[in-house]
Symmetry: C2
Amino acid sequence: MKVIIIGGVAAGTKAAAKLKREDRSAQVTILTKSEDISYAGCGLPYYVGDVIKERKQLIVNTPQSFAKLTGADVHTLTEVISIDRAAKEVTAVDLTTKEETRYSYDKLIIATGASPIRPRVEGAELKNVFYMRTPQDAQDLRDAAASGTIRRAVVAGGGFIGLEVAENLASQGIKVSVIDMAEHIMPGFDPEMAEFVENHLADEGIMPFTNTKLEAILGTEKVEKVQTSRKAMKADAAVLCLGIRPNTQFLDGSGIELTQGGTVLVNEYMQTNDADIYALGDCACVTNRITGAPAWSPMGSSANIEGRLAATGLAGEGKPYPGVLGTGIVKLPGLNAGRTGLTESAARDAGFDPVTVTCVVDDKAHYYPDASYFIIKLIADKKTERFLGIQCLGKGAVDKIIDIAVMALSMKAVLSDLENLDFAYAPPFSTAIHPLEHAVNILINKISGRLESITPSEFAAGAAEGYRVIDASMSPSIEGVDFLDLANVNGVQPQYAADDKLLLVCAKGKRAYMLQNRLKYYGYTNTKVLEGGTTFNGAEF
Amino acid sequence: MKVIIIGGVAAGTKAAAKLKREDRSAQVTILTKSEDISYAGCGLPYYVGDVIKERKQLIVNTPQSFAKLTGADVHTLTEVISIDRAAKEVTAVDLTTKEETRYSYDKLIIATGASPIRPRVEGAELKNVFYMRTPQDAQDLRDAAASGTIRRAVVAGGGFIGLEVAENLASQGIKVSVIDMAEHIMPGFDPEMAEFVENHLADEGIMPFTNTKLEAILGTEKVEKVQTSRKAMKADAAVLCLGIRPNTQFLDGSGIELTQGGTVLVNEYMQTNDADIYALGDCACVTNRITGAPAWSPMGSSANIEGRLAATGLAGEGKPYPGVLGTGIVKLPGLNAGRTGLTESAARDAGFDPVTVTCVVDDKAHYYPDASYFIIKLIADKKTERFLGIQCLGKGAVDKIIDIAVMALSMKAVLSDLENLDFAYAPPFSTAIHPLEHAVNILINKISGRLESITPSEFAAGAAEGYRVIDASMSPSIEGVDFLDLANVNGVQPQYAADDKLLLVCAKGKRAYMLQNRLKYYGYTNTKVLEGGTTFNGAEF
């Protein structure tokens, strides 16, 4: 079996190595237009920030060592320009000699990845305009940062890569702004969660500007200003993290089916509409595991899974790929942010009737030194109580919360499956009632009517208009509003009528919930708890 | 409804608070013989080690604040001495006045917890003999440690509490030994995993002595030596963490059914054989979620869950408790250790046919600064491939691995449910192929015959006798054995016959697996990979 793999970063090398282990008799050839293969794309921002000290740490294998280790042939600087499906051949150009060669295949794997969007704006060719996709991109930005000539940088694009670059520049004393043309940074998060992160970043000195489009980069030789739809921003560097486009232009006319966005459509065995041609990684379009809809998951993790699956498939033991959940996590200064499954709006779009809760829960025993909190937003279907998604922010182990949720979502858990679980507890790691469990309990309380609340996004949209705010904290902490000490509420509170609209607010939401419970017992019928309390909705108080 | 709750630490206070929220009309009275209620038992060792700075941090609520917050009555220093089920009354002694009072109940909750085993050995009454169960216990040991008079301490008992105490004494410069009469410390771990921890502790300066029984404590006024079945050990303090016994002696003659160990048998609604009497927390015997067998889970986390369940049950909305998994986690110096589900031997005892793998996998991107590794032992049923249990050791996020497994076990996952999941990945958090996923893939490879291996415990039992050891590392690293560089194995190796017994060993197991794969292709029929490589089986090489 002759297998040609186009592309040699994550998906391509994984498929090659696994296939050679499954069937060493397979003739596997990687054709890649780059000089490097098998590099750690996800590590690039950390090389910029000197968290990773040496460039060679980013390179998992050289083409030579990879070939020796696996038995696959590797041709670097070799760009495939077309596919002849009838003849089962690809045509590739040697980028050094410009010679064209035809390679025949029995099976073909397209793992060409994606390239950064390079906007056609004035000044995009200036010195100190950077991208973040290859080790050389990272080297260039690292060198510029280390040279001491960059005092201010604008990162265009508030996705994970843009934010990681922002953190890694800021950590070196560079004043960083992040602009994004969308309403919020952090695609894949619901707006109010993204907004919390925006406020946090501003507090940390990384200024986010949303609804702000990159219009031009100004300067004579090098970047001097970044012109946006709002204003011009002084900058010594512009890092363009505006997203990526799949490298599939060479498939034009091949008859291989692409999505509108240019990714290659594959079935659950990673096969394109030509069963002898597979597509993997950043250039492929897979499936959302919850909705079954097409999903693009340009992540190193998906690429590896898909490479492995395609290889076992080619070797005759294919297993279907149930698809992705849209999981993502990012480390920001002083805050980690993760998500998996459907957002509230995605759940609605997919035909679910989402019910959500946003809560603030301790991340470990409150008395343990580095204890902090998680902000958890849970999304479930109201009727079936099927668990649909989670977003989590916090200083601590956000990855843990997300990964438990990944396991639950993959098993199609309903909320009651997440109740009363025997999670690991010791004070350095968690709370006696696990943070995720806690959040689930709150959502179940909400569905059962025990908790009647206003979500942060409902609150921001004005749902609390006409409500009288009551501070339910331990001691008065919200200026200019009534304070009620839960410990002293043992009957009707004469200052309020039974049907007064009362919005109960405390730091995190717990005391407000307990106060609501108490007030309901004494006949109050119109109380609401503000989910997330002042911790999440802080800007409003 | 009059509800009496006997005991006021985790389970009792949780049940009281939740019940009063569910039904404020319930008259809830806590009777507890202690002075404190609602204290953080799991935090005590950290108060000894000054990780927690102030005693008041250990106290979640005072009796007064708890009563005001919840509306429950709290009687401290009030010991229940008997139950009259016919009259539905308990008799309690006021420990201050010695007066006896009878309290009537409609429903009774037994949440009396457990007490440390106090061995009847010579010298147990000496000064500087400590226990670790109450805030006062912790205060006493903390004060002694802070006084500078303790240079050497012996901790008797190598369970989690004993090891946490050992860590917290060692961190203050005290030379600590841990003795345990069992073959290994860390009950609930398979022997080879416990042994790895023992070696690690010894490297860290905490000397574990197993198969070593406490025989006497010697000294004139205070501890001078600890006499064990092996030798006498010089010590200025002895901390006795020999386990706990449920506080159920007062139930003698009550007709309430106890287990042989003295815990109260309950059904899935936490009811004893008397449907009006519940038992919760450390004094109760619940169910193993996997086997359905009785299980004792004296953990703060279980206590909270059980308290909550009993309260909702009493309020009329009871849900069944599916039981515990035997989850546990402990922070040790430079190593975290966690487990959940069945050990290999417990799986065998429960009638499963366990297949296991022990592997060493990266815990985050290898190039990220604090990257380390997890040692993961997975246990599954060979025939059904049902996932049964996990043990994990590592410097990093062991709690994450365990909690994902808890979710999977609770959903009755089979191994294929754990494949190809979209876990959270970014270099500061994880690896592109998630560590747990990696371990699952290895176990699936083993079951399918792709990997033929010897487990560390098989190896220790002599399974590799007659095998020739081959070093499969990147460069020769095991003295006195053959070295084979995978990169150069492209055909038959004339120095070995096809049926030579070859044991392939590398640092973690991965290269040995790849070498096995290669050698099998070239006709070698008797190769085995040593699971865990030299990293886990280090002492042997």
